[in-house]
Structures are given as structure tokens and as C-alpha cells.
Subunit: 119 residues, 2 copies
């Protein structure tokens, strides 16, 4: 659930979205397909995602560079998903492309969590 990112600098794409009242299983399926597609792209570092009960979601994908993130953003299958997102799944979203300058981490020693990968 946590992305296992390297030392900065790298790129973060913050996608904040509000779900419409349309879609359900089709949305979940597309989200899974897009995460797999992203992970097959050069420069993909990981993704973190959470959605509230009120429909607001934040997904942050991490990339080696803005250019690497841009290749995925312009991928043909992804463009189709983006169009469906606007037509069907989201009533609003904001996309922000960022350069990560600093990062720090805390893990409860009692939990023995030392590895970022969890599936």
C-alpha cells in the first residue's frame, strides 16, 4: 500500500478525484487495468491510493521523471480510460505533476515494517 520510492528527486503525479454516481464494477476493473499498465511502463516507481466514503479519492503515482510520467499519460489505452473517466466515472478531478524534493519516513519499530512492498 506504500510505494517503495528511491531517494529524491523523482516525480509524483497527484490525482484528486470525486466519483460520480455512475459506474461501479467497470470502474474498479479499469482502475486495476490502469495500475497494471502503469507498472509496465519504464520509470514507474509505485502508487499510493485512498478513497473516502464520501467519494473523494487521492491517487499518487511515482515516476523517475516528468517525461516518464508523460509517456504513460499519453498511452493510447490510458487516453481511452481518461475519456471514460470524464464521461462516466468522475464529476471532477485535478491532476498535479510534481517534483519530489525531500522525503522522510516513520515506521513503528514494534510492527517490524521495514519493507515498502505489500503486494
Amino acid at each position: 500500500m506504500f510505494a517503495d520510492t528511491p531517494e529524491p528527486p523523482y516525480t509524483a503525479v497527484i490525482f484528486t478525484s470525486l466519483r460520480s454516481d455512475q459506474g461501479g464494477e467497470d470502474y474498479q476493473q479499469m482502475a486495476a487495468v490502469m495500475e497494471k499498465l502503469a507498472s509496465e511502463h519504464d520509470g514507474f516507481l509505485g502508487v499510493e491510493s485512498a478513497r473516502d466514503d464520501n467519494g473523494l479519492g487521492i491517487t499518487v503515482s511515482y515516476w523517475s521523471s516528468h517525461a516518464a510520467a508523460g509517456v504513460f499519460r499519453r498511452n493510447g489505452q490510458h487516453l481511452v480510460a481518461q475519456r471514460l473517466g470524464r464521461e462516466r466515472w468522475y464529476s471532477r478531478y485535478v491532476l498535479r505533476i510534481c517534483r519530489v524534493d525531500h522525503a522522510r519516513e516513520y515506521a513503528d519499530p514494534a510492527d517490524g515494517l521495514t519493507d515498502g512492498s505489500s503486494g
Copy 2:
């Protein structure tokens, strides 16, 4: 629920966290106090937050600069909250400080959503 941010560049602080099994109302209260405290700081632009049913949460706060975000990070009340977070509320977290370089937005015209403020 969406932050009403200006044209880039500005600063985003991405806080990805996993809640422990401790705390409840005390955590909610502190989160509200910290959001108010942040909003009273110079350079605060807004905040977006979502937490999944599985306990993973992403909060992104937006600031005019890394320096403005740093003043809040070192605020005395905030330092107390950070310590309680490590001792009690979070089993793990990652904090990333980013420069937002590009942003774009979509809003369903049918929803008439043109204003970023929602409370």
C-alpha cells in the same frame, strides 16, 4: 474537499499514513485542530484528504513555498501532534515535500462545479 490552488509553481506536502489500531475520537479532534492551525499559517493554500476503509490515508497540503510549509512543520503544537502520531495514531507514514510544476482540472459541466471551495 478540493483545494483551490493558484497557477504553479507552489508546494505540495504529501502525507501517506497507515493508522494504528489505537485512537479514535482523539485522533479526529487533533486532525481538525491541525487543519485549523495550518490554515492560520502564512502561505497555506489548501488541503485535500482521503482515507480508505483499510486505514491507509493520503493528505496533501498545499503551500506557497517549501519555506512556508517548513514553518508549519516546526510549529510547537504541530510538533506535539507529530509525536503523538508516532506514539499512538500511526503505524507508518511517509512525508514527501514537492514542487508542483503543472496542474490541470476537469469538472463535469452538468454539475455546475466552478468554485473550488466547498466549506
